[in-house]
């Protein structure tokens, strides 16, 4: 009987082959974080100074924060794309009905298929910024980005559920256009990746507070402020992400099961 691990293994193999055959893409993962940070720094320097940024964000290492936030952003993009666009891509290639007819539960397929990207993408982007963290902040910078990586993995668990929810919506909507395209920047915008949430209107702040990415960014901010932050704050973030993992994945699982049953009854995908 095919289980989640078989799907995970198959997609991991597919991803590895994909990266092996697209070295340019792999290389671009190493450049992107620096390009994004260069854009913010260049753009920001036109208006003011890095000191003002540091003061507004309340971080002592603004560059380290910008680099880690970029890794959080890139990992989120990768996860939401791989899960939420799973339906669209398979619908485009005509394989969606076959996937839905496999004996494995829909939530398991969706989440297990997105898992390899959820692991590989943060690892690659973190490897890309690691030398910069070491250069800028020494060994402490290296340790801090590795700690942030743990938070990224923690944040990816609820994000997988969130992405599966988006994927389930595309199943009902039967939409052929790539709706994930708009969800990704919106998710990053409300999560305050490069700025404090407080600058957003209150409705967007509220949406941001129920998104897991906001808490991973908060962890990045915390570790860019202190070498060893207060354990109380770290634990609060871990608790929130754990609750979100259960909530989002449960919700995604129930929604996907319901949609799966409805679609099988109708016989239309």
């Amino acid at each position: 009987m095919t289980g989640w691990f078989d799907i995970f293994r198959a997609y991991l193999f597919a991803d590895i082959c994909w990266y092996k055959n697209n070295r340019w893409l792999l290389f671009s993962y190493f450049i992107w974080p620096y390009l994004m940070v260069a854009l913010i720094l260049g753009f920001g320097s036109m208006f003011g100074s890095i000191e003002s940024y540091s003061e507004r964000l309340g971080v002592s290492s603004p560059i380290l924060f910008l680099l880690s936030s970029t890794v959080v952003a890139m990992s989120s993009i990768s996860i939401v794309s791989s899960v939420a666009e799973f339906v669209i891509e398979n619908r485009w290639s005509g394989t969606l009905p076959y996937i839905m007819l496999t004996p494995v539960d829909m939530p398991i397929i969706f989440i297990a298929a997105g898992l390899p990207d959820a692991i590989i993408s943060p690892l690659i982007t973190m490897a890309a910024i690691f030398p910069a963290a070491l250069y800028l902040e020494g060994l402490s910078g290296g340790i801090r980005v590795l700690t942030i990586l743990i938070f990224i993995f923690l944040g990816m668990l609820p994000l997988l559920g969130f992405s599966a929810l988006i994927a389930s919506l595309t199943l009902i909507a039967k939409e052929e256009s790539n709706v994930g395209q708009i969800i990704i920047p919106f998710l990053l915008l409300v999560s305050g990746v490069y700025y404090p949430l407080e600058v957003l209107p209150s409705i967007l702040q509220f949406i941001g507070r129920i998104m897991p990415v906001a808490y991973v960014v908060e962890a990045a901010r915390l570790f860019s402020k202190y070498m060893i932050p207060e354990i109380r704050f770290v634990l609060i973030l871990i608790y929130i992400l754990t609750i979100m993992t259960v909530a989002y994945n449960l919700l995604a699982s129930l929604t996907l099961r319901g949609i799966n049953r409805a679609l099988r009854r109708k016989g239309v995908v």
């Binding site: 994909w18 055959n21 697209n22 340019w24 893409l25 671009s28 450049i31 992107w32 390009l35 260069a38 854009l39 913010i40 260049g42 753009f43 920001g44 320097s45 036109m46 208006f47 003011g48 100074s49 890095i50 003002s52 940024y53 507004r56 964000l57 939409e175 052929e176 256009s177 790539n178 709706v179 395209q181 708009i182 990704i184 920047p185 919106f186 990053l188 915008l189 990746v193 490069y194 700025y195 404090p196 600058v199």
Partner: protein, 266 residues
Amino acid sequence: MRFYKIKAVVWLHILRLWRYKISFLNMALSITLWILLFLLGALMFTPKGELFKAIPIVFWGIILWNLMSNTISLISGWIWYYLSQGFVEEHILTDTSPFLVLVGRPITGLFLSALAIIFIYITLSGLEGSPIITIMDPFSLMLGILTLTLMSISVGLILAALSFKTGIQQMFIEILNFIILIAGGIMAPLSKLPRFLAYVALLIPFSHSAELVRYGAAGIKPWASPAIIAPLSLILTSSLIAISILIIKRIEMHIRISGLRAIGRM
């Protein structure tokens, strides 16, 4: 070239635009959100109290980047779809140049830019609270926008033509757009760039058109007199158009002899 072919190409792109209207709206909104994401981050660099003074300065930069990046990526990034659906061979068999079809892609790119610019204008006006568009010299402004658009179409066609032969990936196009944004004098006047980047920007043809636009819109003094930059932009635009025509002709001949090289998943 028969007129009906041009009419058919224009019809094709307008029809696609209408059929993919949700995708079109989705893309325009997502461009707006991406720009806001970076803009909000960059605005955090301003000292408290001066937060939104900088918005009108960057508005024109955003317009220029939108025009440039959408045109380039919607021409050259469409090749994957065009190739994978087998449309290139179809057009060649009906004696229609695949590049004629690609020349129609700016219709989509310019419509997309226009919609994204409207969204960005609405959002930024909301933040700023006062009009953010000013026009000081309409001639320079129009000439700058026209030359930048023509240059973008030419670069898009050059990349598209090369990708028939070499397989240029979407990611490469995105990185190129990003590099031009940072180092190409699109977002900031050349006088505000660090000296090294200003020299690099001088070598990038888009920067001269961008200087003209900023002069025409906000009266920001360009790196040289507009009387020099205007003809320079026209010469650079003509050169890029000529290069794109030459490359297209060569690649078209190559395709007819050796066939296509598909570029795979992006």
